[in-house]
Every structure is written in C-alpha cells, then in structure tokens.
Amino acid sequence: MVAKSAKQEIGQRFLVAFRDAGAAEVAPDILLDAATLLDLYGEDIRARAYLATDPVRGEVVLRPDFTVPVVQAHMDGGAEPARYCYLGEVFRKQDHGDTRPEHPRDNEYLQAGFEVFARDPEADAEVFALFHRLLSPYGLDAAMGDMDILLDAIRALPVSDARRAALLHHVWRPIRFARLIARFSAPVEARDLPTSPAPWTGLRTGSEMEARIATLEAEPDAAPLPAIWRDRLMRLFAIDAPAPLALEQLRALALEIPQIAEAVERLAARLDQLAARGVDPAAIHFAASHGRETMEYYDGMTFTFTAPQHPGWPPIASGGRYDALTAQLGRGRAIPAVGGIIRPGLVAELEASC
C-alpha cells in the first residue's frame, strides 16, 4: 500500500513538469452537471460515475474525468493556443460483474493531465513526446493508434450513405460493427414487416418509422460490399507492429485505399516529429485498432503507456486527439484538441516495487 501523500507528491512532480512545458494550471470543479456527461457518454457514465441529486442544480456527478470540464472552461473564454494542466481526484464506480475480485480497483484516484488546444500540426507529437519523456524511467510499453486512418477507410467504402453513416457511428463497438459489415457484405433479402393492429403509442412518430422502413426497403437493391473491400478493411484493422513497420504496411494499403493516404502521411510526419524530439519510433507499438477500445470521442491519434509487468493494470497513462468532443461541446465551434493523463497512483506503486 502506497500512502496517498506519496501519490500526491508524485502527482505534483508531473504537474511541475507540465507547467514547465508551458501549461497553465486549472482546477475544475469536482461536482459537475450531469446532463452534459450523460449526453456525451450515455448509460456508460451511470455505470461508472457517482451521480447525486442537488435540490437546486438537479442531477450532478462527481468528476469522472477532467476532459469535459477543461474543454468547457476553454470554450467559455480561453484564448488560443492554450496549454492546460491539472492534478486532482477522479471518481469511478467499479462494478465487476458476478464475482468481485480480491483486489478491486480504486474508486478514487489521482489524474495529472496536460491538454493542448491549438491549430498546430506538431501538437500530437508534442503531447506524446512529453508523456514519453516523463515516463521513460519506468520501462513502460508505448502504444499508438490513429482513428483518423480508420474513419477515412470507412468513408472510402463503396456503400450507400446510410450504411456508411451506420459504420462510422459504430466503429467503437466491435460486435455491432462486425454485424453491420457481415450484413452489408451479403445480398439483403427483402424483409416482410407485417402491419400491426396495435394503436400507435409513444413519442417515436409514424413518419420516423416510415423513414426507416424506406431505408430498409432500399437495402435489397444495394450492391453488397465487395469482398475485396471487406478484406482491405480487415487488413487495416489488423495492423499491429512497431511503428516504422506499421507505417510501411499502411503505405502499401494506401495504394489500395487511396483515401487513407493523407492520414497515413500525417502519421509519417508525426513519427518524424517524434524522432526529432528524441523518441525512437521503433520503440512505439502502432496498432490500427488501438483507438477502437478507447472512448468514442478520440477521433485522431490515441496512445497508452502500460506496465508490461502488470498486465492486469489499467494504462499508467493514456490520451489522444478529441476534436469531435470540442465540436460537440462547442455547439458548432470546434477547436483541435489533444491531451492525456497520467495516474500518479500507479507510478507510485511502480516506484515502491522497484
């Protein structure tokens, strides 16, 4: 057991490093309005965050992460470019299913974070290199992904707009995505949807249903997704190698899916920028599907640093680009944003076991 004060001390060390990297410290509220988070994350947040009711404010939530309040604070009046850092507790419920593990995860733990809001093509490399440098003493595995490349590949598929939209929506949900791909890859038989004698009930309207039925009726006319395209997509999702080798594979695939070439070259530039900042790209593991396991609002680079000797642990640090989140919270206004968090508590455990 590492004392909380020791974790706090390590957190302060990262905070100082983030300030030295040019960030202004912010201290968001612990008690946040629930509505924004519920809309963004859906039911997941209820399973993971502590909700409470305030007689005046309504539903409130104990801060489950810093990203949303930091983005909101920036959108409310931050000047660009901006770099922010923070250190504080986050609160997470840990519901483990049928059996509780012997050592359940913490319900409250520290996060030290660094976020960049800037239209700067080197911002991804800046954040990754900073985290890499701060964590280099701990022998962690660095992994990177890039949702941009996957999303561009899906946009390139020769399918109807409706099918493309469904695939883009569900790319973060592997089962649902696989079911859609399977359905779109075979000829669709016309569905017999018998009319119901039941009277209409509920808020969904008849015309909303008719709109969906029209989409379903158009399905049998749609050409199935050609096997070659399904294969290209699966080969892309499977790329998992040291970054320079992954880049080679991606460039080869870009000859078949030209629409990803631009995003692949952005990755190449990022790797060059990292090398210039002293990070060896060969030491970064690039997995094309890395970002599919993260939060839905990471829509560009994603990264994690994990401890190889503790496979059961969550990442020691994680982050990525979340332009879509700023667009969602900015109501039309969007700011390119990238950042990440370190868990000082886990770093303290690592230091204690050395």
Binding site: E43, D44, T99, R176, P194, T201, L203
Partner: protein, 223 residues
C-alpha cells in the same frame, strides 16, 4: 441454528411454504397474519419473514444464513453476487422473465439489431437518447452493454412501468413479465432475442454462514 429468510406475503410465501412442506419441513407464521416471525417444525431452523427485495441484502450482510427470493433480485441488488451468496436450489416456481419491450406498432423492430438502429435514429431525430424505463438498472445496463447497444438511456420506473411509453416518459421498457398480458394491454411487444434474465424463486445461502451446517441442511432437503 441456521436462520432462514422467506418472503413475507403473497403467492411467493405460500409457494415457499408448500415447497418446504413437500420436503418434510413445516413453516408457518407465528401468531397473527401481521406478525413477521415464523415457526418451524421438522428442522433445526429459525424463520424470519421479510420483503423479497430485502432478502439479498440480509444474506450479503450475514444476518440470515439462508434466503428464498427471485434470482433476478439477487443479481440486481448485489454487485458481485457470487462473492456474497451461493445458489443452492432453483425452486421451480415464481417464474418471471426480465425482457425488453417496445411499442407493438413499431413494425420495423423485430430484434436487437433493429432496436440499436432505431435508438440511433431516435437520438438523431429528437436530440436525446432513447429512453428505456426499468427498475432493474444493473441487469439491463449490463445486458445492453454486452450487446453493444448505444444511443439509449435508462429512466427509473419503480412501478406501472408499462405505462411509461403511453405517458411519453420512455420509448421502451425492461421489466419482469410472466404472461405478457399487461404488456399487450399497453400495446407493447417483447423483443424475442432480448431475454435479459429468466428468473425463478431460488434458495440461496449466505457465504458468511456456517457452510458445513448449510451443507448438512441441504442434504436433509435432498434426502
């Protein structure tokens, strides 16, 4: 002496008494109908009568050693239930299915894939996530998460859940049903591939009790 908790009223209590009687143990209320103490003949047990909904918690806390309640209630009320109790015998009555139901007029909704697609469309059309009314939050959320249904939210409904759709406070419901009659009366239909849990009355044992004594009692039941 082992302490047994049994639902304090209704069909569930009568069926439980009948089930034990068939195994040579006579349970009864002590004194009047309003008293929640019980009498036991034919076994070294003490009987307490409790609300079925409280029995899981009482077992988890170790205040009773044995309990009869619905398998749905144990799963819903105890996070990590296998760490608190063990399932001794499914009792063969009190059958009820926790299901997902949508308006019967939704002729484009025949399975969970349709449900997922409609939720996405609904969210885009209405600007909020499609609402599913239930009191079984943990079970329903775990089921929908396992099937990767997005774009929905749960709204709490502790009673008359079938009415929430007509009242426009939910678009779908997840509730216990045995015959489906209330669903039909409220113009709802069950999604056939969304059976969340098939519940029945079950005899459970607290893991905090004397397990050897519990096992001896169990073999008396099975003799």
């Amino acid at each position: 002496m082992l302490k047994l908790g049994v639902p304090s009223k209704g069909r569930l209590m009568e069926d439980t008494f009948g089930w034990f009687e068939a195994r040579g143990i006579k349970l009864s209320r002590a004194g009047s109908d309003r008293e929640y103490a019980g009498r036991v003949e034919g076994a070294d047990l003490s009987l307490v009568l409790l609300s079925a909904g409280e029995i899981p918690r009482e077992m988890a806390a170790g205040r009773i050693d044995l309990g009869v309640t619905g398998s749905d209630l144990v799963r819903e009320k105890l996070a990590g239930w296998r760490s608190d109790v063990r399932e001794l015998v499914p009792m063969g009555f009190g059958h009820a299915d926790l299901i997902l139901a949508v308006p019967a007029c939704w002729r484009d909704c025949e399975n969970l894939d349709d449900f997922a697609a409609i939720a996405r469309q609904f969210r885009a059309d209405h600007g909020f996530r499609m609402r599913v009314a239930t009191k079984y939050h943990r079970l329903v959320r775990a089921f929908l998460a396992e099937h990767e249904i997005a774009d929905y939210q749960l709204v709490d409904s502790q009673g008359a859940t079938e009415g929430t759709v007509a009242n426009l406070t939910a678009e779908a419901i997840a509730d216990i049903t045995s015959s489906g009659e209330t669903l039909r009366a409220n113009h709802l239909k069950i999604l056939p591939d969304a059976l969340i849990h098939a519940s029945q009355a079950t005899l459970f044992a607290s893991l905090q009790g004397d397990q050897a004594e519990i096992d001896r009692f169990l073999s008396q039941l099975q003799a």
